[in-house]
C-alpha cells in the first residue's frame, strides 16, 4: 500500500449492503494542508451534482438502525474512512441514539481514517476541529448525520460504540510504521518492530526495474537445460506439490551504512526482514524434471523488467532452496515476488530471484551482470565473487536512535542472525566493549533466522556506548568494522556486517557511534 503525498486525494467507496443500486462514494480529500482540514464529499453515484444524498435503506423497519458498510474501492487497503461534512458546514454535535444492529456483519459506522495516513494523523491532531460522522436513522426511517468530535470518542472509549467487525484489519492510527524508500530500495523499520516476524507490508524491498504486475493465472515456471525432461509448472501445480513452511530472514548483501550519529537501525541495516514462507522445495521440482549428472549450477531468472538473473550452485538448489508462493499466511506480496519467487535461506537477497519464471540447469555459472559487475566485493586487491552466505550479525534495536531513554532499568533488545545456521549466543557490552555479558536469547532459535535477544541493564545516567555482537553455531563472532577492514583491505562493499555501537548521552539521547572502529 502506498501513501500518497499530503495533497493527494483518497477515495473510498461507501456501499450500502443489501441495497441493490445505491452506491455511495466517499471522497476523502484534503482541501488545505495548512488548515489541516479534511473534506469529504459524499456523493451518490447516480447523481450528477455534488450533493450529499445518502440513501439509507432500512433493513428492518421495526428496528432503529443504520446499516452502512464501508467498503474500500479497489484492493489492498483498510476498510475505514473518515466521513466529514464539507468545509464550512460546521457539524453540530448531536446526541447519537444507541445503535442496535441486526447482525454485526451488516452493520457499520464511520471510523477514523486508515492507519498511518497523513489524513488520519491530521484528523487526530485537529482535535475538536474534526469530527466523525455517523449515519443515523430514526424509527421513522429518516436518515440524518450525527457528528461526534473525535477527541470525545477517544476520551472515553467505554461511552461510545466502536466499529463493528470488518473485512480487513487496520493498524491503529497511533502507530506510524513506514518503510524508508529510495529509488532502488525500501527499508524495514527495525526499531519499531517487536519479536522477529516482519509484517508483510514492512518487508524490505530491493528491485532493479520496479515491481512487475503478474497475472497468477498466466504465471508459469519453466525448468530446463541439463534435465531429463524440461517442464512447465503453473502456479496451481506448484501449490499441489508437498508444501513446506519455514521461517527465515532475507537480507540484501549491501546492507551497511554509517557516517553520522543520526542513523536509525532502519537506515543502518533495514534491508533485512523475516517471514514465514510457504512453498515447494526446489528439490521436489528437480526430482520431477530429473537432473542430469553433469549439472552443477542453475540460472534463476525473474520476469521483471530487469529480467533478473543469478547463477546458483545446484547444491543449494538441492539443499534448502524453495519456490515460495506464500508469505506470512497469505500470497507473497507483489514487492516480494508475487506470485512465486526463489528462496535461498541465509544467502544474499539478490539470489532469491523474485517473480521467478525460469530455471536453467547448467555445468557452469552464467556470469550475469548481477554476479560480476554487482554483488562482488573488493578483498585485498581482488574482487570476491559468489559470496552468497550472509555472515552473522546483530543490532540493538532498542535503545537505538532516535530513541531517548531515562535513567534506571532498561531492557536492551535486538535481533541477531546468521546465514550459516543458528545463533549460538549474543553478547552485549554496556561499557564500550570493555566487558561483555551474555544476552538472553528469546526463542525459538531457528536456522538462518532473526533471533531476538534481551539484556537487562541499569543505566546510571553517565554517557556510555552499548554494543552487541552475534556468535553463530559455526563459532563465527560478528567482527568490528576494523577487523573487517583489516581482513579485506577494504572499508566497505557488499557483505559488511560490523558491530554497531550506540552512544547513550547523558540527556538520554541515543545516537549511532559512527566511528569506524
Amino acid at each position: 500500500m502506498k501513501f500518497k503525498s499530503e495533497e493527494k486525494q483518497k477515495a473510498r467507496a461507501l456501499q450500502q449492503k443489501g441495497a441493490s443500486a445505491e452506491q455511495i462514494t466517499t471522497t476523502l480529500q484534503q482541501k488545505d494542508a495548512k488548515a489541516e482540514q479534511i473534506v469529504t464529499t459524499l456523493q451518490q453515484k447516480d447523481a450528477s451534482a455534488e450533493q450529499i444524498a445518502t440513501t439509507l435503506q432500512q433493513k428492518d423497519a421495526s428496528v432503529q438502525q443504520i446499516v452502512t458498510t464501508l467498503q474500500q474501492k479497489g484492493a489492498g487497503g483498510e476498510i475505514a474512512a473518515t466521513s466529514q461534512q464539507k468545509s464550512g458546514t460546521r457539524l453540530k454535535k448531536t446526541q447519537i441514539p444507541l445503535f442496535e444492529f441486526d447482525t454485526p456483519q451488516e452493520s457499520g459506522i464511520s471510523l477514523p481514517a486508515p492507519n498511518g495516513s497523513k489524513i488520519s494523523r491530521r484528523t487526530l491532531l485537529a482535535g475538536m476541529a474534526t469530527a466523525v460522522v455517523v449515519l443515523v436513522q430514526t424509527s421513522a426511517g429518516k436518515a440524518f448525520q450525527a457528528a461526534v468530535p473525535e477527541r470525545e470518542l477517544y476520551d472515553d472509549p467505554t461511552k461510545k460504540l466502536g466499529p463493528p467487525p470488518g473485512k480487513l484489519g487496520t493498524r491503529s492510527p497511533h502507530e506510524k510504521l513506514f518503510k524508508l524508500p529510495s529509488g532502488t530500495s525500501s527499508r524495514t523499520p527495525l526499531q519499531d518492530l517487536y519479536g522477529t516476524i516482519t509484517p508483510s507490508d514492512l518487508h524490505f524491498e530491493r528491485n532493479h526495474a520496479g515491481v512487475p504486475a503478474i497475472d497468477p493465472d498466466k504465471y508459469e515456471l519453466l525448468i530446463h537445460g541439463m534435465v531429463e525432461k524440461p517442464m512447465i509448472f503453473k502456479l496451481a501445480d506448484l501449490k499441489r506439490f508437498p508444501s513446506v513452511t519455514r521461517i527465515c530472514f532475507l537480507e540484501c548483501s549491501g546492507n551497511f551504512r554509517t557516517g553520522r550519529e543520526t542513523l536509525s537501525p532502519q537506515e543502518i541495516c533495514g534491508l533485512t526482514s523475516q517471514t514465514e514462507w510457504t512453498g515447494v522445495m526446489l528439490s521436489t521440482l528437480l526430482r520431477e524434471v530429473g537432473v542430469k549428472e553433469k549439472a552443477s549450477w542453475f540460472l534463476a531468472e525473474g520476469s521483471d523488467a530487469a529480467v533478473m538473473t543469478r547463477s546458483i550452485p545446484l547444491s543449494k538448489g538441492l539443499d534448502d532452496a524453495m519456490i515460495v508462493y506464500a508469505q506470512n499466511g497469505e500470497a507473497v506480496r507483489p514487492e516480494q515476488g508475487y506470485p512465486a519467487r526463489l528462496l535461498l535461506p541465509g544467502w544474499e537477497g539478490n539470489t532469491s530471484v523474485k517473480w521467478i519464471r525460469r530455471i536453467e540447469l547448467s555445468d557452469q555459472p552464467f556470469m550475469t551482470r548481477e554476479e560480476t559487475s554487482k554483488y562482488t566485493e573488493p578483498v585485498n586487491g581482488k574482487y570476491r565473487q559468489f559470496s552468497f552466505t550472509m555472515d552473522a550479525r546483530s543490532i540493538i534495536t532498542f535503545p537505538a536512535y532516535p530513541a531517548k531513554v531515562e535513567k534506571g532499568w532498561i531492557e536492551i533488545r535486538g535481533i541477531a542472525w546468521s546465514g550459516r545456521g543458528k545463533i549460538r549466543a549474543v553478547e552485549v557490552s554496556t561499557d564500550a566493549g570493555k566487558s561483555w555479558k551474555l544476552a538472553d536469547i528469546s526463542g525459538p532459535v531457528l536456522d538462518k533466522a532473526h533471533t531476538g535477544f534481551r539484556y537487562l541493564w541499569q543505566w546510571n545516567g553517565e554517557e556510555t556506548l552499548i554494543v552487541s555482537r552475534a556468535i553463530d553455531e559455526t563459532g563465527y563472532t560478528q567482527p568490528t568494522y576494523k577487523q573487517l577492514q583489516q581482513a579485506r583491505g577494504a572499508g566497505g562493499g557488499y557483505h559488511y556486517n560490523p558491530i554497531t555501537a550506540w552512544i547513550v548521552k547523558r540527556d538520554g539521547q541515543v545516537l549511532l557511534n559512527p566511528d569506524r572502529a
Binding site: H208, A209, L222, I223, P230, M231, I232, F233, K234, R240, F241, P242, V244, M281, S283, R287, E288, G290, E293, S296, W297, L299, E301, A305, A306, V307, T309, P313, L314, S315, L318, D319, R358, E360, S362, D363, Q364, F366, M367, T368, T372, S373, K382, Y383, R384, Q385, F386, S387, F388, T389, D391, G421, D472, T474, G475, Y476, T477, P479, A487, R488
Partner: protein, 214 residues
C-alpha cells in the same frame, strides 16, 4: 586451470557436494528419486517417512519452441548467442540515439549525479586508478555485456533491441573501453574470444564461517 574452469569443475566445496550427490544417482530414475528424497527432501517429510510416488504427475513438458522463446541467456563460452553481427561504428550511432541520454558519465571524472545521469558510467580507460568500476576495468566477461544489454537495456524500453543492435552496442562499448579495436566485428564467434582485463581480478568466496574473519 582458469578461474572459470575451476568453478565449472567444482573447486567450491559446495559444488563438490553437488557433484558427489548427483553421481550417487547412477542409472534408474527410481533410484535417483529415492536418493534425492532420502538425502535432500525437507526433514519433516523424511521423519514421517512419507512414501512419495516416482512422479506427482503435475506440470507439463516444455517444447523446444517454448524454451527458445524464454531462453535468452548468454554464457561466457558463447552458448546462447544468436545469429547476427554488429560493428563499433553502428554501435556508436545507436548508443548516441538510445543510451547516452542516461549514461553520460565519463569514468575519469567520477560518477555523475543521478539527475545528470540516471545510469552508471559505462566507459573507463584502465584497470588501475579509475574511480568508476565498469566494463573496462571491472567486468570479467564480454558475454555479460551482450546478455545484460539484451535483457535489461535501454532501461526505459527493455527487450526492444535486435540482435544486430545488441552486437553493435557491445562492440562499441568494448571499443570505448579500449578492449577491442575500432574495426572489430562482434558476432557469435568473435565475442566469446574477447578477453577482458578484469577476469584475472576475480576470486571465489573463501569465507567458511568459524573463527576466521574474511
Amino acid at each position: 586451470m582458469s578461474y572459470r574452469s575451476r568453478l565449472k569443475y567444482g573447486i567450491f566445496p559446495a559444488i563438490i557436494t553437488a557433484v558427489f550427490i548427483l553421481q550417487g544417482f547412477s542409472g534408474k530414475d527410481q533410484q535417483f528419486s529415492r536418493n534425492i528424497f532420502n538425502s535432500l527432501s525437507p526433514q519433516d517429510t523424511i521423519k514421517k517417512k512419507v512414501r512419495w510416488p516416482g512422479s506427482f504427475g503435475l506440470g507439463r513438458s516444455a517444447g523446444q519452441k517454448y524454451i527458445d522463446s524464454l531462453d535468452i541467456d548468454v554464457r561466457p563460452d558463447g552458448q546462447g548467442l544468436p545469429p547476427g553481427a554488429g560493428t563499433v561504428k553502428q554501435g556508436q550511432a545507436i548508443y548516441l540515439a538510445k543510451c547516452l541520454v542516461c549514461h553520460t558519465g565519463k569514468s575519469s571524472r567520477g560518477r555523475a549525479s543521478a539527475a545528470e545521469s540516471p545510469g552508471p558510467a559505462l566507459i573507463t580507460d584502465s584497470l588501475s586508478g579509475a574511480r568508476v568500476k565498469t566494463i573496462g576495468n571491472y567486468w570479467p566477461y564480454a558475454s555479460t555485456v551482450y546478455d545484460y544489454i539484451n535483457r535489461a537495456m535501454p532501461y526505459n524500453a527493455p527487450g526492444s533491441l535486435s540482435p544486430d543492435e545488441v552486437y553493435s552496442l557491445t562492440a562499441y562499448l568494448l571499443y570505448a573501453n579500449k578492449i577491442i579495436p575500432a574495426d572489430a566485428v562482434m558476432n557469435a564467434k568473435t565475442l566469446p574470444r574477447v578477453k577482458m582485463p578484469a577476469e584475472k581480478m576475480f576470486v571465489p568466496d573463501d569465507r567458511t564461517g568459524g573463527a576466521v574473519i574474511r
